[in-house]
């Protein structure tokens, strides 16, 4: 039996560890790259951008109540987004489990959840800086705002609906008159 150098197993080990380490870093780098390049779940957060634009504006300085209004709108948009995530989660999770939905979509969804968690914390921090203790009722306020927005959006349609239905009635009447005369 040939003599095996003591360095052979060592060389083997070194090779193995290097290969694994190389694989791990490349894999992780790719994963990070993929995560960074994921298409965001939601579009631009306009309300957030407005808030920080106003906050960082120095000339002219924006009054505090305007900042609070902008922050409330931001919180309302956060509520809307969180509700939308919560509503789609069960169905999406099921589809993903069955393989009907790809891993990428699922990863994007989980990333969106994390982003929203961070955004809510950040928003609460801003609120607390404007008025201590405000975050405790601010989210309740924001939730009502989302509901009230829905009411107003729906009711804005009423005049157009009235007009459309009114025209339908007029056409009916014209036809009925024509039938009577004809």
């Amino acid at each position: 039996m040939a003599k095996v150098s003591v360095y052979t197993p060592l060389a083997y080990l070194v090779l193995l560890v290097t290969a694994l380490a190389l694989f791990s870093t490349v894999y992780r780098r790719r994963k990070v790259h993929r995560l960074v390049n994921l298409e965001p779940w939601f579009g631009q957060h306009v309300e957030r951008d407005i808030y920080y634009t106003l906050k960082t504006q120095s000339e002219p300085k924006v009054p505090e109540k305007m900042l609070k209004a902008a922050l409330l709108r931001r919180a309302a948009e956060n509520v809307r987004r969180i509700v939308s995530l919560q509503e789609s989660k069960p169905a999406l999770a099921e589809l993903h489990q069955r393989g009907a939905v790809g891993d990428e979509l699922w990863t994007r969804f989980l990333a969106a959840e994390k982003i929203m968690d961070a955004e809510v914390m950040e928003c609460a921090g801003e609120a607390n800086a404007l008025k201590e203790g405000w975050p405790q009722i601010m989210f309740q306020t924001a939730a009502e705002m989302v509901q009230n927005d829905k009411i107003r959006v729906r009711l804005e349609k009423v005049p157009a609906q009235q007009e459309q239905a009114r025209q339908e009635v007029e056409r009916l009447r014209a036809r009925a008159t024509a039938e009577l005369e004809g």
């Binding site: 631009q44 306009v46 309300e47 957030r48 951008d49 407005i50 920080y52 634009t53 106003l54 960082t56 504006q57 002219p60 924006v62 009054p63 505090e64 109540k65 305007m66 609070k68 209004a69 902008a70 409330l72 709108r73 950040e122 404007l130 008025k131 405000w134 009722i137 601010m138 309740q140 306020t141 939730a143 009502e144 705002m145 509901q147 009230n148 927005d149 009411i151 107003r152 729906r154 009711l155 009423v158 609906q161 009235q162 007009e163 459309q164 239905a165 009114r166 025209q167 339908e168 009635v169 007029e170 009916l172």
Partner: protein
Amino acid sequence: MDFTPVPINFDPVTKHLSLSSTSSPDDPLATALSAVNTLHRDLINLNADVPPPPNQINGRLTEQVRKLKDSGNQAFKRTAYADAIRMYTLAIEMALKRPAWEAAGYQREEICLLYSNRAQAYMSTAAWGEALADSEAAIFLKRSFTKAHYRKGKCLQNMGRLRDAKDAYELGLESGATAEGGSEAELKTALAEVEELMRQSGN
């Protein structure tokens, strides 16, 4: 905190935000800015630095809405339907001025009654189209409000849409099953009536 700066102008005199670049009115940024302006105006009128909990309702506004509604009801009673419609419309406009932080449930309830009453006034002038849209708005605000389903059905029936009218009455009976009574008997009679009409026209 990284963000995309947006081109906003703040006018220190009018205390109003506007876009520094010209844009179409349905630009999401323009919509968002106008929402901030509205909220800011409401906050200025508020006697506190941040909105109170949602269940605190502005009593003065409630009173103003109630007064307008009462004048509408009185006009309706003396069959001055055009006046009643005008009063209810004013009441709706007033109710919609309520700040967005006040309980949505309260607002739904308050506005629902106004649309439902205005529907009734429109129906009294045979303006079925206008009344139909109003009853639908009232149903959107409060599904269990059987009176609005009844009125919607009557409008559809008068527009010759018997099938839709029947659906409206049936939905009214379903949605109102747990709600306070009142229109249930009315709905049942109306349902029987429209079914009879359908049988006749089917022959």
